[in-house]
Amino acid sequence: DVKVTQSSRYLVKRTGEKVFLECVQDMDHENMFWYRQDPGLGLRLIYFSYDVKMKEKGDIPEGYSVSREKKERFSLILESASTNQTSMYLCASSSLGGANGYTFGSGTRLTVV
């Protein structure tokens, strides 16, 4: 069964900490995405990548960065966590940037205290 795997289901971090969220896919997809999911706001695109070492800003990139050193892995980095980054983070991958639909991970619920 093909998958997108997010390394942590729940995380609790302190304000100011540097936080790494990891995502791995085994479908050889070129495109990978990070969204945050908040009630009433839906899914908002943070960053995406269409190739190794390539990245593009989404709609809400402030306070985040990403790393894609290998095709299967896409990491989201919170440089200095803040309480307004408490959210559900969803990783997804796709073979054509979304035209064929995404495969989502199960999500990481991050709480910043």
């Binding site: 495109n31 695109l45 995406f48 269409y50 940037g97 989502f104 199960s106």
Partner: protein
């Protein structure tokens, strides 16, 4: 920029009643529209896409370019349809290769 609007946060219906989840979009180019669903404690998954013109779990959606809408419909709701539903748009004719999602509608089907 493109935008997807789902005007209802919550839609509550009784089992057997018809369901229509509304989705409107603003984009002047050629869109590809999708519906995604998230059942309780499960990951978000693709329900259907307009280009396939298929019916999944009894749901259908028609793209109306004149009204810029892609409403999701089912003639008879089932309790297992209770979930969070997201409408999403993909721009076919520009370089941004990512989906734009709406804010979601929670469907509650009561027995």
């Amino acid at each position: 920029a493109q935008r997807v609007t789902q005007p209802e946060k919550l839609l509550s219906v009784f089992k057997g009643a018809p369901v229509e989840l509304k989705c409107n979009y603003s984009y002047s180019g050629s869109p590809e529209l999708f519906w995604y669903v998230q059942y309780s404690r499960q990951r978000l998954q693709l329900l259907l896409r307009h280009i396939s013109r298929e019916s999944i779990k009894g749901f259908t959606a028609d793209l109306n370019k004149g009204e810029t809408s892609f409403h999701l419909k089912k003639p008879f709701a089932q309790e297992e349809d209770s979930a969070m539903y997201y409408c999403a748009l993909y721009r076919m004719d520009t370089g941004r290769r990512a989906l734009t999602f709406g804010s979601g509608t929670r469907l509650q089907v009561q027995p």
